[in-house]
Amino acid sequence: MISDEQVHQRVAQIMAEEFELEPESLQPDATLYEDLGLDSLDAVDMVVALEKAFGMKMTDEEAVRAVRTLGDLFDLVCRLKNQQVAKE
């Protein structure tokens, strides 16, 4: 099983590669929309990229909409990942 720390690293790596973001900018308190410059068009691309990387589904629209910062995103992915492990 991968640890929460490893999930954080992987999420940050995906964001850096897929959205051409500077690795230094990827701090937990960075907001996706203001600080990292993503918009609603990117949101779906982000979900698709994360789903693929982690082999899970992010179908809870409310939860994804509630994500403001990279830290929120780390938490959401960890939560989903742990739920998935619990199910298996």
Binding site: E18, L41, D42, M46, A49, E51, V64
Partner: protein, 499 residues
Amino acid sequence: MRAEVVVIGSGISGLTVAALLAKRNRQVVVLERNQKPGGALRHFVRRGIPFDIGFHYSGCLGSGKILRVLWEYLGIWIHLRVHPFPSEGNDCLTLRHSGKSVRAFFSYERLEDELQQAFPNEAEGVVTYLKTLRDICDSIPFYNLDLPLTPFLRGLFPPAGIGLAPFLTSLTKDPDLQAVLVSPAFLYGVSPRQASLAVHAMVAHAFISGAYAIDGGGQAIVDAFLSIFRKAGVEVLTGQEVESIIVTDGKVAGVKTSEMEISCSQAIYTGHPADLLDLVPEGTFRQAHCSRLQDLENTTSMFVVFGAVDNPASLRDLTWVNHYAIPSGLDILDVNLICPEESALLMTAPGRRYSDPALSNASRGIILMRPASWDEVAPFSIGAGGTRPASYKKWKSQSADKLLDQAKKLWGYSRIEPLAIGSPLTFRDKLGVPGGAVYGVRHCLNQYNPGAKTRLPGLWLSGQGTLMTGIVGASLSGLVTAGEIEGLEPLWDEVRQCR
């Protein structure tokens, strides 16, 4: 050359978005790679018999229904002779294993009666299924025209929600009834195990609410658009494959074909979304978006025999009845079941549905289809566009014989002469879809189809890969793209006034 808007592709989505923008006084040019406009709606003629490729029947053409409303708004409707299937018309579904036949009528009341009679122990499941379809569609603006468009389109996650398979298996354990209820999947090309209940509802509901034929088939629709284009000054240039989209200062500045360059501030691309990546300069989209477009999964392909009988009267029974043979359970599009003895099959004769009896009675054309997988033709695919190996011809004719043999065994049609054959290779090359996917990109669970907006200012998407597939879906994708450019709700209000 110069235009305000260039539409790339002249299928029903491109024609629709061009017509809508022209009505808003935009100066529009449509570019089409093929020699003739119409995309999947084109017909072709063999021995004097016209055959439709991508139009056999459609829903949403009754009074107050969306496609009719849209065509009335555009002035297309008056050019067409559209007529409903009579009340006896149906999709006659023969279950492969039990041999049982069920008539899927194009009316909720009649369909419910038929299903109750055929499956007397499953009354509750039948009622729940039909009610669920209606309830879902009642919350979708294209079926309930009182609703605004924006909230429906802005949902982030159309693929979320319930799968068709778990829903159906919760309703009934009867594999024959399951097969009957999943059968509309044939019309959007997604295996029921991957299908979403909402997408299924949209397609099934459209047909259960009424099926329609059009004199002259899909070609008549294309011709109707071309005739309004002549008045509106829309140019359609064929034999023009767009090879690149010109970007200046971070926005669309024009498009380039091998022969010409057109400057424009807006370009609307209606082909397969994955192929768009070859048209834009590198770096236009971020990696995440490129991967998403590249990884889109496609619908099933089909193997199609376009044939003819000597005696047109022998096709009389087929006029208002489409014959389907379907495997039980949820396997209607299972690619492991592509051998025609087991797979789903459709036999139809759309040419017999002309309102002029002289024409319909004389019509000898018949179309047979089964799901097909790319793997069947992969060995012959070398040298795409060029000459195919001789073994391909042999495979085609053997496969056609097997299909004809099935038509004989199932329905007694013994003397059908094959005049043309469509395989996954044909559809890949003629329709420009990867794998010969007859309905383009899948609309299913867990797949996020792209919307009309793109990251590049001035570039828009439309077509069956975006909003929805089929004549209705692709037309509505044209409406949505025009709406995104011109303002969604104002355009929606104008269109709805034609109810």
